[in-house]
């Protein structure tokens, strides 16, 4: 039992060190002044933003709308009954902007893009494409990891802002059938409840989640050694580890800013 716990702890630390190392190398490459492969790398970043950000707009919009609707209906009908109708905007700000917006967007990005990144890199390993890039002198960090990290971070920031907007405004418009509060008053209350710190926290969380998702999924994809059966195994591990890491980071940031 003790030996197993010790082994798991060592494995966990080794994993964290490997992911951190990959992340730091990608981060360094992001700000490297080297001109090498700039056009090709920019192309990969653009495609990643397109896939992770633009292509995800319908699903993120639909989930944001449904979540906004649920929260606004629940809060809008329950709060007035206990004499707290004036707190509707605050509840929305607390649940959507601070927590659920970044977190649910991260989960959607993990399910869509995290799995895709891990599977793509895993299959590239199996097909010796990664070895071929290495043999051509093409830096795997610069050509494969860094563009995915940059693309996912940019997409995460945009998607989180989009999620918040749709959840707050779209959710209200749909819930309007049941509620009596005018939209003008609702938006003014939201504006009053939102602080600069809330927006800053949302952006910080988006950046951290985007970075974590891309780096962990790249790490697992590149960890495939040679068999195709390893690809789904690594993808499952990547999902589990990214969800855990995002929740852990969410707690740290929330505690850091609001406690």
């Amino acid at each position: 039992m003790i030996a197993r716990t010790g082994r798991k702890t060592v494995e966990g630390l080794e994993f964290a060190a490997a992911v951190l190392d990959l992340g730091l190398r990608a981060f360094r490459e992001l700000f490297s002044p080297a001109r090498r492969g700039r056009g090709e790398v920019f192309g990969v970043i653009t495609r990643q933003i397109l896939f992770t950000g633009v292509d995800a707009l319908p699903v993120v919009g639909a989930i944001a709308l449904m979540l906004g609707l649920i929260i606004i209906i629940q809060a809008g009908t329950t709060l007035p009954q206990v004499g707290a109708g004036a707190f509707l905007a605050k509840i929305i700000e607390l649940t959507v902007v601070r927590e659920l917006g970044p977190l649910l967007t991260a989960f959607i990005v993990i399910w869509r893009s995290g799995t895709a990144i891990c599977t793509e890199l895993g299959n590239m390993q199996v097909g010796q494409e990664i070895a071929a890039l290495d043999a051509m002198g093409i830096s795997l960090i610069r050509f494969l990891v860094m563009p995915r990290v940059a693309g996912v971070i940019v997409a995460m920031i945009c998607l989180t802002i989009y999620f918040d907007f749709i959840a707050i405004v779209g959710g209200f418009l749909v819930a309007k059938v049941h509620l009596t509060i005018p939209i003008q008053v609702y938006l003014e209350e939201i504006e009053e409840a939102l602080s600069a710190a809330d927006i800053l926290v949302t952006v910080i969380k988006s950046v951290l989640f985007g970075f974590t998702i891309a780096v962990i999924c790249c790490h697992h994809g590149l960890s495939v050694v040679g068999a195709t059966t390893e690809v789904p195994q690594q993808t499952t591990r990547a999902m589990l580890n990214t969800v855990t890491a995002c929740l852990f980071l969410d707690i740290i940031v929330s505690v850091g800013f609001y406690l």
């Binding site: 001109r35 492969g37 890039l133 051509m136 002198g137």
Partner: protein, 244 residues
Amino acid sequence: MSETVITLDHVSASERDRTLVEDISFAVYRGEAVALVGSNASGKGLVLRLCAGLEAPASGTVRVLDADPARATEEQLLALRQRVGFVFAQPALISNMTVFNNIALPLRYHTVFPETEIRERVLARLTECGVDAFRDRMPADLTLGDARQAALARAMVMDPDILCVDEVLLGLDADELVRLRKILERYRRAGRPTIVATVNAPTSLLRVMDRLVLLRDGRLVATCPPAEAPLVDDPMVQDFFESQ
């Protein structure tokens, strides 16, 4: 004697915890065409990767174009790899790029050539390797033989000092084999690079080579010109050439 471009000095190497190459020493000279000949488990693939600087030896020293890949920094390795073209046993073309973009990739990554010059160089290589008709196709749409020819074009596009080809016969039919032999002959006549290839069956392609390095069970049996190889006093070598 011309300049040495690859030196293996008492090299042993392993793959996935299995020692596949033991105490091998030989040198390859500039402009020479060398075939690493042996059966499927002879370790020639690993020797080829050592020659290209893609693997580090467990013991002994490897020098490729005056560099020691085992001690080189990442930047030095990247620079070395621009001077060594490598064709893997699997074509290893990037699956989400067209054949043209696959071959243009090293030029676009490493050079600042304008797109017109890149296009010119890529088309020249595609034509030379006989796969220009497939330039807009995706790798999945090619036969193994055509994909390997495209991979050869990609390895040659940077005009490397050393061209390494793993399992040179893999996926080739009789016509493609003749075409490959002509490509390599033309390539050599043009004063181009040192060629190192692995071969696992007797073939007319061996006639293009200057020297054969005969391997068995990860050990060097002999190095000799192709004409002398069948005379080497080793049962494996004699069986190999008798199967022709």
